[in-house]
């Protein structure tokens, strides 16, 4: 069904429209209950809508689960070989499909045909689409599609007349956007061990190795992942890793090593419901506190969380730059909802950052030179100079120490960078603000998109404030909201983001709208909830 959904999205895209596609699937390989929701508009669209104009099911279970999600002017298509006489339009998917050898593969093609018919795409155009998108069994696919098209034509023809949009845009998943953003920002090597919902960063990058000269490695476990990445950084490579909570937890010790050695390593942490294995293919924002505090001992880190597929692109590059500028580990925090949803995007690559550290120029080299801003210039092997990075407390040359004065000095050296990171961030966009007027809504990550769409849907006037950076927390931007009553919205039982606002910025939530069932907010539902509290 995912394939059919992406073809459907493509159809809208070709008409210049914007698309948001959310894929809901269970943790299994075949069968089970999977579905995709595509929403489209001629404006920026930030969320799928569970209330649908057109629902296509190929089995009974789907019908039963989704029948009540139909909009009042909508149409539901069901498999008349599995259900008789239901509300909606029955189509004999199975009995028609079984005439062909690849019968299981045909449902998707049928769904595409139904969509095409419903938005007034001609049979000719449909056949072109099928040829391009389903190169195997083209003939069979076309005859099946045409049968379905003709079958539903009487009731469906151009039922949902849609306008064309302004231009054709690329569509990306959040993970593709992170991968491409990192490439644009200077990525050299990526280490990853598969874990939903981060795996597709690994997969996307693995498919691009030759083109971009990347080294992409899937090693024995996540501990190898982070430690290899640190080794690569030592040798001068811009390294990134990615995982979800469980795999990231295994990197905790290595993350601390990056803190001590001042290794620039960027970690993508894509959240799914936890704790432990949790609910692998669904979404939640439950790892925030862990990300902010992971690793033993005291060291700096930069944590940022993008709100959209587009922001994910720029932010990956920006974070890569930051971790290299300040030589400290960073976390790009995101969620399944962003990682695996697809959106049309407008990206201007020229606005992307390019990772550029402070290099050692000449003369004797001290890896941990205690400079004014705490940033020691970098040098990479091979070099006549000796370059020593050290996991023990060390002196400026990187030799182990137990000396109390040196311990203090090096703590101070590393910590000094904090001020400079903050100064630097003050020049960047660290908080997004949408709208001006109405109640204040604080949210973060991909939940921001749900809120944006809810405000649009519900025609609600409100100001959304979304911190992009979570550590250092941009208190300088948030100061002004200190005494205002605010609403917070997040996907967390405990309200971790709400606590963060209070603890770091003294912003007190009077209403927390939260959800923790693994599903993102639906804009209609969310609009209702927001209206209840304002």
């Amino acid at each position: 069904m995912k394939k059919a959904a992406s073809v459907a999205s493509q159809i809208f895209i070709e008409r210049g429209r914007q698309v948001f596609q959310m894929d809901d699937y269970m943790s299994l390989i075949r069968g089970g209950h999977n579905f995709s929701v595509i929403s489209t508009a001629t404006r920026d669209i930030y969320s799928h809508y569970m209330k649908a104009d057109l629902i296509i099911n190929s089995d009974k279970r789907s019908y039963e689960m989704h029948a009540d999600e139909l909009d009042k002017n909508g149409l539901i298509i069901y498999n008349s070989d599995e259900i008789d006489n239901a509300e909606g339009i029955g189509v004999p998917f199975y009995s028609e499909a079984k005439k062909f050898p690849a019968k299981n593969l045909l449902y998707g093609v049928g769904a595409v045909a139904i969509l095409a018919c419903s938005i007034g795409i001609s049979k000719n155009d449909l056949n072109e689409i099928i040829k391009r998108e389903y190169p195997h069994f083209v003939e069979d696919n076309i005859s099946f599609a045409n049968f379905i098209y003709d079958y539903v034509f009487p009731k469906l023809n151009n039922k949902f007349e849609i306008e064309n949009g302004d231009k054709k845009r690329p569509i990306l998943t959040g993970n593709q956007s992170i991968a491409f953003g990192a490439i644009a920002g200077g990525l050299d090597v990526y280490f990853g061990y598969p874990m939903t919902p981060a795996s597709s960063i690994l997969h996307t990058l693995a498919s691009q190795t030759d083109k971009f000269g990347l080294a992409i490695v899937h090693p024995e476990n996540e501990i190898a992942v982070i430690n290899m990445a640190i080794g690569s950084a030592f040798a001068g490579a811009k390294a990134m890793v990615g995982s979800s909570g469980g795999g990231f937890a295994l990197m905790s010790e290595g993350f601390s090593l990056a803190g001590m050695t001042e290794a620039p390593v960027l970690c993508v942490l894509s959240m799914r419901p936890g704790p432990a294995t949790g609910v692998p293919t669904y979404t939640e924002q439950g790892d925030l506190n862990f990300a902010l505090n992971v690793g033993h001992g005291e060291f700096l880190r930069i944590v940022a969380c993008p709100c959209s597929v587009k922001e994910a692109f720029y932010l990956s590059a920006e974070m890569l730059d930051l971790v290299w500028k300040f030589q400290t580990p960073g976390i790009l925090l995101t969620e399944k909802h962003l990682s695996e949803s697809s959106m049309t995007v407008d990206i201007n690559m020229e606005n992307t950052k390019w990772a550029e550290p402070k290099y050692h120029k000449n003369g004797n080299y001290k890896r941990y030179l205690d400079t004014e801003d705490g940033i020691s210039p970098l040098l990479f092997p091979p070099s006549k100079n000796v370059i020593k990075w050290n996991s023990y407390e060390h002196d400026e040359l990187g030799i182990t120490t137990e000396n109390p004065e040196l311990i203090t000095k090096m703590h101070n050296k590393r910590y000094k960078k904090d001020m400079h990171i903050i100064d630097f961030l003050k020049q960047l966009k660290t908080v997004n603000v949408y709208g001006n007027g109405g109640p204040l809504i604080f949210t973060y990550g991909s939940t921001t998109m749900s809120v944006l769409e809810a405000l649009h849907y519900g025609d609600i006037e409100a100001t959304i404030i979304q911190p992009i950076y979570l550590r250092p927390f941009p208190v300088w931007e948030l100061e002004r909201y200190k005494d205002e009553p605010v609403i917070t919205i997040e996907l967390s039982k405990m309200g971790q983001f709400t606590s963060l606002l209070k603890e770091k910025a003294n912003i007190k939530s009077k209403n927390l709208i939260n959800k923790y069932d693994g599903r993102p907010f639906d804009p209609i539902e969310l609009a209702k909830k927001i209206k209840e509290v304002i």
Binding site: S232, F234, I347, P381, T400
Partner: protein, 278 residues
């Protein structure tokens, strides 16, 4: 030529076998330089433990890693820049305990690196607990009645995992050990040297090894012969047991590419990304 020493105070116990490893290694570096492998191109790592202190004593670039993780660290270095010769110093607790999976996978993927195993049969720096290579019955503070596990045979496991260079040395035989080190570092692929390292504080095996080691007369010619030799108990053979040619990981991964040297420019990246972004 810079000296290979640093100003770090040496804190090994007097008489420790690690001194002999350090000395042999310094000699090996000199020999390698004679053969054209410049020390600038050599980078080291080390785990955590007595063995790892060698990191501070060697004036060579590298990263002093975590307990058991040096084997991963060093691979990361080479993947980034394959022109580096990467060597790690690992303890028996380090490479065969905490880091075992990394060690086995490095062998499996014939990673082009050298692992120097300081096998002293104890977790020395943490005060003498049994390790994966300790004989059954070892009385350490975590096993006061004697450990109840049979030891692993490090070399046999390495052979089985796919290592392409396997050797054993003894610091009491300096020239021999130096020679093994040189050959291991020259070897293209995963080379593993088990060094029988006396720890005078816990298990002073100097005498025992002097009496029971025996230089291999001939390099075994097959996997099976190598396996037989690494398992001998009557005498402990030292020397090179196994050496074969096989493609290495980084060559298989990206051929002659070098990710940091050949980095593709920003402009070129933008151009190539257009396909996905417009």
């Amino acid at each position: 030529m810079n000296t290979l020493d640093t100003y770090a105070e040496n804190t090994w116990c007097p008489g420790c076998g690690n001194f002999g490893i350090l000395n042999a290694f310094k000699k090996a570096i000199v020999k390698l330089e004679e053969k054209g492998i410049n020390r600038e191109y050599i980078v080291i790592s080390a785990g955590i433990g007595c063995h790892a202190k060698i990191f501070d004593y060697l004036n060579i670039s590298g990263l002093y890693s975590l307990h058991g993780r040096d084997i991963a660290t060093i691979q990361g270095m080479k993947i980034a820049n394959p022109e580096l010769n990467v060597i790690t110093f690992s303890g028996d607790g380090n490479a065969m305990g905490e880091g075992l999976a990394h060690t086995i996978f490095a062998a499996k993927r014939n990673f082009d690196m050298t692992l120097i195993l300081h096998n002293n049969g104890v977790y020395a720096l943490t005060t003498g607990q049994y390790t994966p290579l300790s004989e059954k019955g070892w009385k350490g503070p975590s096993t006061p009645k004697g450990s109840v596990e049979e030891p692993l045979n490090a070399l046999a496991i390495m052979l089985e995992a796919g290592a392409t260079f396997i050797a054993r040395g003894f610091p009491g035989k300096q020239a021999h050990l130096t020679d093994i080190m040189v050959k291991a570092i020259e070897h293209k692929g995963f080379s593993f040297i088990e060094i029988l390292q006396p720890t005078v504080a816990y298990n002073d095996t100097w005498q025992f090894y002097r009496e029971n080691t025996e230089i291999l007369e001939k390099e075994p010619k097959s996997f099976d012969e190598a396996m037989k030799n690494v398992k001998r108990k009557d005498k402990l053979p030292i020397g090179i047991f196994y050496r074969i040619k096989k493609p290495t990981f980084h060559e298989e991964l990206y051929g002659n590419w070098n990710p940091v040297r050949n980095r593709i420019s920003r402009e070129k990246r933008f151009q190539l990304l257009k396909q996905y972004l417009t």
